[in-house]
């Protein structure tokens, strides 16, 4: 219910307005209060060093929550109890956040903790991410948490220091961009396909300077897992944050999670959260529309996430590109990927498949992959990496681990793993990988590695085919 005395506001404006400690002026940005600060081992050590140098402490330990994910091994502990570190630097980095957390009193769910997981899987599972909050983390995929109607965005390490010391950030208000998704997704087409299609339409810089709000019936129909996948990749369209209005799907998912209010406080919170959705008549700075009724499973062929095509499509030919800069971008991508223009992507040989990451490492993603792999054998090296221990446990309770193992896939310990190849899970030069992660940048999964981004179902279809394949053909009747 909008207050009729006030201008209609967007979800973004409501969350922003509620967190302004001091309004912006021509000379100074707004001071924006941060409700939840998530941390991991890669982008925090220099921030803690800064606190030490300046003699500062963490202002709000109750709003700070850490895990370890990027540098952690995804192989089980050795018989002697040690972790199988890829190298000494990984081990030292994880040891550093353990030391920092202890010294400053930060709640850390690190290796060995039953809640440990990829930070953007872990935060929502803890119930730490809630509608209407401001959420930051030294990680660009913080956009994920926007799925709950939280204003969530990635920050650099200097800003991690600012939030640790003051619980605030200096921010100019971004512009708003509505992504209106019309129509309904066809069976076998997922949130990952939707976000890849959106980014293909707006480009990797299309959302720069904006916060995206995803609206429309196809968005409403998504589960929370799907919504997290969608918001996760807002940053790949250049937007620091993606947002989806909270609704009953959101509240049902959150109910009972460790950090959410209980009893009467829960009812009060839900009543408040119901006020968050964008008011009728509220204005966005920009609006983009996409009709998804005919959308097919998507896959990328290039070296940025906007270079996506339907899995049944053909690799574009740079000759058809009129703009010289765009042509050069396409030529360089095809050269790096060693893909011929004008050919179907279906049947392209695949060496490795990676199912996991903050984009697609949740239980529903593993179910989608298992549905395709069940009763089949993989023809490529296939890593399945749950996004967290909670996801891993849930998957094992459903027997998904057995499906993956029987198919010949590797069932790994939770972590970021091959999404960014910091922990030793990496491609060899020249290898093709169909990956459920978020970035196909050159060398992202290992120097010389070639990444094709796709949904868990499409990745699983590639695994059992040894080549790019249409998952719909493998799940008919299943």
């Amino acid at each position: 219910m909008a207050d009729s005395t006030k201008q209609p506001r967007t979800l973004f404006e409501k969350v922003w307005d509620a967190h302004v400690v001091k309004a912006e002026t021509p000379d100074t940005p707004a001071i924006l209060y941060v409700d939840l600060h998530l941390m991991h081992e890669v982008t925090s050590p220099q921030a803690f060093s800064m606190l030490r140098e300046r003699g500062l402490k963490v202002r709000r330990l109750d709003r700070t929550l850490a895990t370890t994910d990027h540098s952690t091994p995804t192989l089980p502990r050795l018989p002697d109890g040690r972790y199988p570190w890829f190298d000494a630097q990984n081990e030292a980095q994880v040891a550093q956040i353990e030391k920092n957390a202890k010294e400053f009193g930060v709640e850390l769910h690190g290796l060995g903790d039953p809640q440990q997981g990829v930070v953007h899987v872990f935060g929502p599972e803890m119930g730490a991410t809630q509608p209407g909050m401001t959420v930051v983390c030294g990680d660009s995929h913080t956009a994920t948490h926007g799925a709950f109607g939280a204003l969530a965005f990635g920050i650099g390490t200097s800003e991690v220091g600012h939030v640790l010391a003051t619980q605030c950030l200096l921010q100019r208000k971004p512009k708003s961009l509505a992504i209106r998704v019309d129509g309904q997704l066809q069976p076998g087409v997922t949130a990952k396909d939707l976000i890849l299609a959106i980014i293909a339409q707006i480009g990797v810089g299309g959302g720069t300077g904006h916060v995206m709000e995803f609206i429309g019936p196809a968005v409403r129909a998504l589960t929370m897992e799907g919504r997290m996948t969608l918001c996760n990749m807002a940053i790949e369209g250049g937007a620091r944050a993606g947002l989806i209005a909270p609704d009953d799907t959101t509240f049902q998912w959150l109910a009972g999670k460790p950090r959410v209010p209980k009893g009467a406080a829960w009812d009060a919170a839900v009543a408040k959260w119901r006020q968050l959705p964008t008011d009728d008549g509220a204005k966005f700075d920009r609006e983009v529309r996409i009709d998804v009724s005919k959308l097919e499973p998507m896959i990328t062929f290039g070296t940025n996430p906007s270079q996506g095509i339907p899995v049944t499509g053909i690799v574009p030919d740079p000759v058809g590109e009129k703009d010289p800069a765009a042509r050069a971008t396409l030529e360089s991508a095809l050269k790096y990927m060693a893909l011929a223009p004008g050919k179907p992507i279906l049947g392209q040989k695949v060496d490795v498949v990676f199912v996991g990451s903050c984009t697609n490492g949740r239980i529903e993603d593993l179910r989608e992959a298992a549905k395709v792999m069940k009763g089949r054998k993989v023809k490529t090296r296939t890593l399945v990496v749950a996004g967290s221990h909670a996801v891993k446990k849930a998957a094992e309770a459903e027997g998904l681990d057995a499906v993956f193992r029987e198919a010949g896939a590797e069932w790994r310990e939770p972590g970021c793993s091959m999404c960014l190849a910091m922990n030793g899970d990496m491609l060899q030069p020249g290898q093709y990988c169909v990956s459920t992660s978020n970035r196909n940048f050159e060398g992202r999964q290992g120097p010389g590695g070639r990444t094709l981004l796709a949904s868990p179902a499409t990745a699983a279809a590639a695994a059992v085919s040894g080549a790019v394949a249409d998952p719909r053909r493998l799940t008919e009747g299943k």
């Binding site: 100074t28 940005p29 050590p45 220099q46 990635g154 650099g156 220091g161 605030c168 720069t208």
Partner: protein, 190 residues
Amino acid sequence: MEPIRVIESRTVVIPRENIDTDQIIPGRFLKVTDKKGLGKGAFSDWRYDADGKPRPDFILNKPEAQGCTVLVAGDNFGCGSSREHAPWALTDYGFRAVISTRIADIFRNNALKNGLLPIVLEPAAHAKLVAAPGFQIRIDLESQTVTLPDGGTAKFPIESFSRYCLMNGVDELGFLLSQADAIAAFESRV
């Protein structure tokens, strides 16, 4: 931080669009727990081959690029990750300014906090710089202008508070810490 008023240098041009943070500093260099020495990893996969030998055709390995502190790059520079290691690597390498037609939001914020000027120009002015690698440029932060090869100048936008911090060599944290009362008042309201 050293105050920045004027930067004068020859330019080095990498005209590619969408130079992402994984190219600026690949993930395997992010295992450090301090900021020092990241320059050796800057553009590592473009500078070196699989055996670690410099690729002679990459611009940063050419003699004319040595000592250049201003990088002119294609559209949408710095897209991708929030890693502040990107500006740490660029400044450690020796860069003091990056010029593009669009710079990703998180990279821009990170650059401003590390004395690396993120400069966005109109496409026409940018094209003149792309066409003239090695141009001796003068960037004036006070007037927010850069000189162009045709003798003209171009204005660039920069957030006013960041500009103040850069010109005076102060960081934003000091300002935020001075707002402790306002922050405490906000916390007691909610």
